[in-house]
């Protein structure tokens, strides 16, 4: 527990509609350690973005925290942020302890004022000296590979990749310990993706941010920088594992399916080509009984339809929720 930065216990967050609930995050438990990059991977609609909202306690109706706890380490002690209201978490931690690079980072900066003024306003909001914060931003601009004179420009004068780096510079300006990047690379070309990942890693190396959660559906990107991976399916974690072991030997059939659906440079993958997972993710209003993946699973057994497999540790640091490994449990 000593080097844990964020801890989630049995998190459940539903979109509560009038008659039904969309169970987008349903019983997640995990922890993020200090100084690591965790990739959260899954198909569209599996609850990844909801998870990022939950981590920030960004509960905007109809999203409601139904159960579970989140702890964030702040100045060496744990704060139970799930016990606070959205406004309290926002006031105390957003921008200071935790920050985000949003899904559409290209449009994330206020479009009709110059970036320098935006930073001034940010300083005002946090009660900081504007001059100092601007100097800091200039420094950060250099670090992410932007020219400092661009701070005096409007966001739309920069290209998409540059704008995204400007967003990184601004969002990490107060040295938050946790950075959540939500689908940050999906709108970028391959070259800019590479630059972006480099910038992320250099922020971590310099200790500007401690840990990064990278939410994406793109395994090819996340494998380049992640230390561990969380594989999500239909609002649940199906596998949690260090990256190398996961790539070498995926345990959950869904993880295997995901990996097989990506082209990677390994020769056997080239030979095999792309294999897709048949079917589509389930409707989260009324998810399948038992294991939520069973209707699409090639190894489906009778027990999968009736009982829900628990997420259990079967190797040090490797957890999987699948009855295939029930026998290996001690």
């Amino acid at each position: 527990m000593e080097n844990v930065l964020l801890k989630a216990e049995n998190l459940r967050a539903y979109y509560k509609l009038e008659k039904v609930s969309v169970k987008a995050v349903d019983g997640l438990s995990f922890e993020i350690y200090e100084d690591e990059v965790v990739g959260v991977v899954g198909e569209s609609g599996c609850g990844k973005t909801t998870l990022s909202n939950v981590i920030f306690m960004n509960m905007v109706k109809p999203l409601t925290l139904v159960g579970g706890k989140i702890f964030l380490k702040v100045n060496g002690s744990f704060e139970e942020i799930s016990a606070l209201s959205r406004d309290e978490v926002k006031e105390k931690f957003w921008g200071k302890e935790m920050t985000i690079i949003p899904q559409s980072a290209m449009n994330a900066l206020m479009p009709t004022i110059k970036m320098e003024r935006y930073v001034q306003h940010l300083a005002e909001s946090h009660g900081l000296d504007a001059r100092e914060l601007i100097d800091k931003t200039l420094q950060r601009f250099k670090e992410v590979g932007l020219e400092t004179s661009w701070l005096k420009r409007y966001p739309f004068e920069l290209s998409g990749g540059m704008r995204q780096r400007a967003v990184i510079a601004v969002s990490t300006i107060l040295n938050p310990s946790l950075l959540v990047a939500d689908e940050p690379t999906s709108a970028l070309d391959v070259v800019n993706q590479k630059v972006f990942l480099k910038v992320l890693m250099s922020l971590k190396r310099r200790g500007i941010v401690k840990s990064i959660i990278l939410i994406t559906h793109d395994i090819a990107t996340v494998r380049q920088i992640a230390d561990r991976m969380i594989i999500m399916y239909a609002g649940k974690i199906v596998e949690l594992s260090p990256i190398d072991e996961l790539l070498e030997k995926p345990l959950h059939p869904y993880t295997e399916g995901l990996l097989n659906s990506v082209l990677t440079p390994e020769p056997e993958v080239k030979k095999r080509g792309i294999v897709t997972i048949p079917g589509a993710p389930p409707n989260l209003i009324d998810p399948p009984s038992g294991c939520r993946f069973h209707p699409r699973c090639p190894h489906m057994m009778d027990v999968c339809k009736e009982k829900e497999p628990p997420l259990v540790e079967i190797e040090p640091g490797r957890r999987v929720a699948c009855f295939l490994y029930a026998g290996e449990r001690t």
Binding site: G95, A108, P111, T112, F156
Partner: protein, 338 residues
């Protein structure tokens, strides 16, 4: 480079404006002539009352008048003559108010219209946008529901009905304010304090009725814009990095207001003719009332005259909007330079 492309842009706009202006004035020239009826009938019936016994004299008078207004000539010759005179600033002679010049009829009523509708439009814009933004910011509270329902109702009420309700309630029932005209009948407009107060009293009802009826539309539009902008990426991101709510709302307000400015400029352009119904309902001596008179008596030269000025003011507003927008929105200003 930048200035050259700007000049090119302005030139292109001007040429386009000129062409559309010619087309519009042509339509305005042709349409009244397509309405069945004889514009001279009113003058002639007045004449016949005077010279009842002499039909010969009336026929002679009709011939004279036809010649004077050029109505006997083929329409294209009339058109050429109209354009030629208009370019020299002569819009011809009114038929209804014969022998007064069209220019002399229009120019004195323009200030009345401007004084009434310009402030009313601007006040409605300011109030409507403020209310709409407030409703969006307090979404789903009773304020929002009140503003939205009120705006929907008010903006859907036919204006003439709203005007008459105002007259009935404040003018007739309560007797607080005069029910018609721009000043008391029998007074002669001058610069005295007494006349000013008299005009002000007459001013309140038409002014309020315009503000109330126009406000709803602005409020509905602004509310939607603000709700949309509140959910935009920059608003969300600003929140995530700890920007104060007040500041985010100012961003949102600013960006939502940009399209509303265009709307305002356009409605200011149509000010000269836009209050036709107001001026009819309140019997207010403005350009709208004059146009109404001209239309009901088929006064070709007067109709043409009013429209020539009206269309010009709409086009001018359109032209200015482009530049105003470039001034207030850096995305357009700088985007065009590059």
């Amino acid at each position: 480079m930048a200035s050259r492309s700007a000049v090119k842009y302005i030139l292109r706009r001007l040429i386009f404006l000129f062409i559309t202006y010619v087309v519009a004035t042509t339509i305005v020239f042709i349409l009244p002539r397509a309405i069945p009826g004889n514009p001279l009938s009113q003058i002639l019936s007045n004449l016949s009352r005077v010279a009842q016994s002499n039909p010969e004299a009336i026929r002679a008078a009709e011939k004279n008048l036809m010649e004077e207004f050029g109505l006997g000539k083929p329409w294209y010759l009339q058109y050429v003559e109209f354009i030629g005179k208009a370019l020299k600033g002569d819009l011809g002679t009114s038929i209804t108010y014969y022998p007064r010049k069209v220019m002399d009829l229009i120019v004195p009523v323009i200030p009345w219209t401007l004084v009434l509708i310009l402030p009313a439009t601007i006040v409605a814009w300011i109030l409507g946008n403020s209310l709409g933004a407030l409703a969006a910011y307090r979404r789903n509270t009773w304020i929002d529901k009140g503003v939205l329902t009120g705006s929907l109702v008010v903006s859907q009420i036919p204006y003439y009905w709203l005007g008459m309700i105002f007259i009935f309630f404040f003018g007739v029932k309560l007797g607080w304010l005069p029910v018609q005209g721009a000043y008391s009948q029998g007074t002669i407009p001058d610069l005295s304090w007494a006349f000013f107060m008299d005009a002000l009293k007459h001013y309140i009802l038409p002014f309020l009725s315009i503000v109330v009826s126009a406000m709803g539309g602005w409020a509905i539009g602004m509310r939607l814009m603000v709700i949309y902008e509140l959910g935009s990426d920059y608003a969300n991101f600003s929140e995530y990095i700890g920007m104060k709510d007040k500041r985010i709302f100012r961003y949102v307000f600013r960006n939502s207001l940009l399209p509303q400015v265009t709307g305002l400029a356009l409605s200011l352009g149509s000010v000269l003719g836009g209050a036709l119904i107001t001026e009819i309902v309140f019997n207010y001596p403005g350009t709208g009332y004059l146009l109404f008179k001209a239309l009901t008596t088929l006064d070709y030269p007067l109709i043409q005259g009013v429209f020539v000025i009206l269309i010009a003011s709409v086009y001018l507003a359109n032209f200015i909007v482009d530049f105003v927008y470039a001034l207030i929105d850096p995305r357009i200003r700088i985007g065009q330079e590059e």
